[in-house]
């Protein structure tokens, strides 16, 4: 009974209602799952409730009627279950099958699309836990209950107000323009400057309206009477002219100040946004980068933020000025002659309507324009780093063609926007001309009837032409807003993404780790695809583990989990007895050293690259690390020694040299836990030997997990862990596993034994070397 209340309390309301109707009181609802296909793979709603005694399956006909809408289910079926029953999930080609199996007999099966796969796996896992006697709090369901928005694509709940899904990046709010309002949050820091800017704008706009106001009395009181033969005071004419000049100067100074101040603010907002985005990007887990394309991310951080900046500094400013100008002009016009003012404002509603109509079209145009642009950047980001492959396969023409196609797409989307835009602009111009014409007609008529003076009419025409220029430029805001909004949405798309690997709320310091690692029932899924399952392994501090197995067996995933690039989906990884998720992320990673297959060197000097993990390392330490990594002597041979620049991808160094620099890099941070991803490609024997010496210096005294390909590493490892299909199949030292004649022995034979015998000999020699030579180097530190 107690369990029922706990479990049922965390179910969504509609599931709870159905559970109340179909599950007997006293049974605990463990979890639920919503299949969305029927047996013929047509869309149909369903609900599977798993209790501690039975499975209840509800089905509705079609996908429209379902539990949420409250319609009664078409069928209700029940299967009693016990500890001999098991659930099996099988996902294939976007469609999954969940089966209830007892002693080999399939009792029931449900079909679902991948969108529902998480639920199916959750059900299967939950039952397995139940069979094992574990008490699991149904956490996922709690999350779903508290959040207010559920992503329509992946079903992950997001907090209210997010514009994009935290998990898959799908857009939650339909209006891109809302993203723009979020920029105010970023701009808050510059509140006073912004205020100053707007005050200046107000003053500048007002000063721009002075001249026509002055021309009115100038004409009516002086020029027209003068022409009529009356005597006038020439001094006052002079003063009016001075007034006109003064107004122009004032407008100039104020506009200058206003533009400078607002540009200053917008430049800073954009810079903050760029840094924020990049900072956030750095926090996101590897999984995110795996799914996104480089070019797309680059264009979001660079060109999208730039567009926002341009929008803020140019368009928002213009728009504010325009609105002020319009309001003021209308006020002045009405105060002079309200009838004429009404005539003047006649085309305004028509233009507003047009702006409204065009806006939607432009919004779609710009968002596809941005995507086209990102695609173009993608092509560049793809082919420039891969230029060697392009050339080697003589695919230059094809790449040019690909670029050309993307460029065409950019062209097309822009053409579409321009077509709409050109038409719209022309219409606005036409309406403007018509508006002025109407004012002339009405004005002339009234001048003839002496109901307005010539001066009033001239100032009206002066105001009206200003008015329509403003209206014209104001209508431009339509496109600019949409363009900026599309960009803002893309930028916030990054910012709203919640990092999958998060810092613990109360992290324990990871300063002095011993380095013992325990993997407890570790499982990992990529989406719904299980990559690792049931990994149990305990590694002593200082032990060296070699991971062996075919590619795709899950070795890389395992080391990614130990590095905390991802978090486990099941079980836990303990280091020194504490879950690695409890350690401070930065500190933990600093205790972990990583040497990758393809060492990445940043643009900078050799010394900077070695000191990457510890930028404040002294030169003595850098040299000691390079010595231990057997890199010192070849570095001395470079033209600039440790000051030599290495390119973006370290082009000037050979593979073996890069490898040794990356070993030195790992040595310098002096990690407790070392992760080695050994290169599969072989280098010449001499280099191989140097690398082996360097590696053995690195491994000494550290807990090491190595993805081993080299025989010497395999032999040196204290224990080898052989993996197959995401599971550990064999554990033991090299020789023992060979004697056992299992998976490892097979792998080993495939890799090292040639028809002429084994390739062991030259490498055996390596091992002997390892003992003596490098010992002194590391102590130098």
């Amino acid at each position: 009974m107690r369990e029922l209340t706990i479990a049922a309390g965390s179910l969504p309301a509609w599931v709870r209602t159905l559970a109340g109707a179909h599950v007997p009181a006293g049974e605990a609802v463990l979890t639920w799952f919503e299949p969305d296909l029927d047996a013929q793979l047509r869309y149909a709603s369903g609900l599977v409730l798993l209790t501690d005694r039975q499975v209840v399956s509800l089905e509705w006909s079609g996908s429209r009627a379902n539990g949420k809408s409250g319609g009664p289910p078409r069928t209700v079926k029940q299967w009693p279950i016990d500890h001999d029953s098991e659930f099996k999930c099988k996902d294939q080609a976007g469609v999954g099958r969940l089966e209830l199996v007892r002693q080999g007999e399939v009792l029931a099966s449900w079909r679902y699309t991948m969108a529902r796969a998480a639920g199916a796996h959750r059900l299967a896992d939950r039952w397995e836990a139940e069979v094992r006697g574990e008490k699991v709090a149904p956490e996922e369901t709690k999350a779903a209950e508290t959040a207010n928005i559920e992503c329509p694509v992946c079903g992950t709940p997001s907090p209210v107000g997010s514009s994009t899904c935290a998990s898959c990046g799908a857009s939650l709010s339909k209006k891109a323009v809302w993203s723009l309002f979020r920029l105010f949050g970023v701009a808050r820091k510059y509140f006073w400057m912004t205020l100053l800017g707007f005050v200046l704008t107000l003053a500048g706009t007002a000063s721009g309206l002075i001249p026509p106001y002055l021309t009115m009395p100038l004409m009516d009181d002086y020029l027209v009477p003068y022409q009529g033969g009356h005597a006038i005071d020439p001094d006052m004419v002079k003063w009016y002219l001075v007034g006109l000049a003064g107004a122009a100067v004032l407008a100039w100074v104020l506009t200058w100040g206003q533009m400078y101040v607002l540009a200053w603010v917008s430049e800073r907002v954009a810079a903050d946004l760029r840094t924020m985005t990049y900072q956030h990007l750095q926090k996101l887990s590897l999984e995110y980068f795996g799914r996104k394309r480089t070019g797309d991310l680059i264009s979001r951080v660079s060109s999208d933020t730039d567009r926002i900046c341009y929008f803020l500094s140019v368009y928002v400013l213009d728009f504010a000025t325009d609105v002020l100008m319009l309001v003021m002009t209308v006020a002045i016009l009405v105060s002079i002659d309200w009838e004429l003012a009404m005539v003047t404002l006649l085309p305004l509603p028509l233009i507003s309507f047009l702006v409204f109509r065009v806006q939607g079209r432009l919004a779609r145009g710009f968002s596809s324009g941005n995507r086209a642009w990102a695609e173009l950047t993608n092509v560049l980001a793809d082919t420039i780093p891969g230029i060697r492959v392009v050339k080697a396969f003589a695919q230059e023409d094809r790449e040019v063609e690909r670029f050309h196609r993307s460029n065409e797409r950019v062209l097309h989307t822009n053409d579409r926007i321009n077509r709409v835009w050109a038409y719209f602009s022309a219409v606005v111009v036409l309406l403007t001309e018509l508006g002025v014409l109407v004012v002339w007609i009405v004005g002339v008529y009234r001048v003839f009837h002496h109901s307005v003076t010539v001066g009033v009419l001239t100032s009206f025409v002066a105001y009206i032409s200003r008015f329509y220029t403003r209206l014209d430029s104001m209508s431009r805001i339509a496109s600019a807003t949409q363009r900026a909004a599309a960009s803002a949405q893309r930028v916030f798309g990054i910012l709203d993404r919640v990092p999958k690997v998060v810092e613990a709320s109360n992290p324990i310091p990871a300063k002095n780790l011993e380095g013992s690692i325990t993997l407890q029932d570790v499982g990992f899924r990529f989406g719904t695809r299980p990559v690792l399952r049931g990994i149990n392994l305990s590694i002593r501090a200082g032990e060296m583990i070699g991971l062996a197995g075919q590619s795709g067996a899950g070795k890389t995933t395992l080391i990614n989990l130990v590095c905390r690039f991802y978090d486990v989906t099941e079980g836990a990884i303990l280091v020194d007895g504490a879950d690695i998720r409890q350690y401070s992320l930065g500190e933990y990673r600093r205790r972990v050293g990583l040497v990758l297959q393809e060492p990445f060197l940043f643009y900078g000097t050799v010394a900077e690259n070695i000191a990457y993990g510890r930028p404040n390392a002294s030169r003595t330490e850098i040299i000691a690390a390079a010595r231990a990594a057997r890199a010192h002597e070849f570095i001395l041979r470079l033209p600039g020694g440790y000051d030599s620049l290495v390119g973006e991808r370290g082009q000037f160094l050979s593979g073996g040299e890069r490898q040794r620099i990356s070993i030195a890099r790992a040595l310098l941070v002096d990690p407790r836990i070392l992760i080695l991803d050994e290169a599969t490609s072989s280098v010449d024997t001499e280099t191989e030997r140097e690398i082996q010496v360097a590696l053995s210096n690195l491994i000494k005294g550290r807990t090491t997990i190595a993805i081993a390909h080299r025989l010497s590493t395999l032999q040196r490892a204290d224990r080898l862990v052989v993996m197959e299909h995401g599971e550990i199949v064999e554990v033991g030292p090299h020789q023992e596993l060979l004697d056992r004649g299992g998976v490892y022995a097979r792998l080993y034979q495939a890799q090292f034994e040639t028809p002429h015998g084994t390739a062991e000999d030259p490498e055996e020699e390596d091992d002997d070397d390892l003992a003596g030579a490098p010992a002194a180097a590391i102590k130098d530190k």
Partner: protein, 154 residues
């Protein structure tokens, strides 16, 4: 650092005599940090590039040996120090630079902007298309015209 001695043999090449009295002919003297710290970290290698001796600090070496090392280094290292830029290099690639250096006036070509590298705040090094490095120890000490020519690249 163990005691050692340098000698110049009849062919004018340097030889190293280490603390055990072993002599190594045809040695090479190399700076580990030629740009950022030329006074420290000097390595003496044999002809094949194997390190024989490493000197942390030249100041700790006795005067006669030190002057031999410095002589050798100045022979070995060709890094002209630019004192004035006489033309206005274009931003096209490659660009031609006409400069005056501590070793006299010269003209060189720079392949790309990346070859112009700001080392610290005011120190700049330029690598030409043949890999020769030119140094400007402090751009503030250049005359205004040269500085203006350079600033476009920084």
């Amino acid at each position: 650092m163990p005691p050692f001695r340098l000698e110049r043999n009849q062919r004018g090449r340097l030889a190293l005599v280490n603390e055990r009295g072993e002599t190594f002919e045809d040695i090479e003297v190399v700076r580990a940090f030629p740009l950022t710290d030329p006074r420290h970290w000097i390595s003496i290698c044999d002809g094949a590039g194997k390190e024989l001796l490493f000197i942390d600090n030249l100041d700790g070496v006795e005067a006669a040996t030190r002057s031999l090392i410095e002589e050798e280094l100045s022979q070995r290292e060709f890094v002209p120090v630019i004192t004035r830029i006489t033309n206005t290099p274009s931003s096209d690639e490659p660009a031609t630079w006409q400069v005056e250096t501590d070793r006299g006036a010269t003209t060189f070509e720079v392949e790309s902007d990346e070859a112009i590298h700001r080392q610290e705040n005011f120190r700049v090094s330029i690598t030409d298309s043949h890999g020769i490095r030119y140094e400007i120890p402090d751009i503030r000490r250049l005359d205004a015209r040269s500085r203006k020519a350079l600033e476009r690249f920084l």
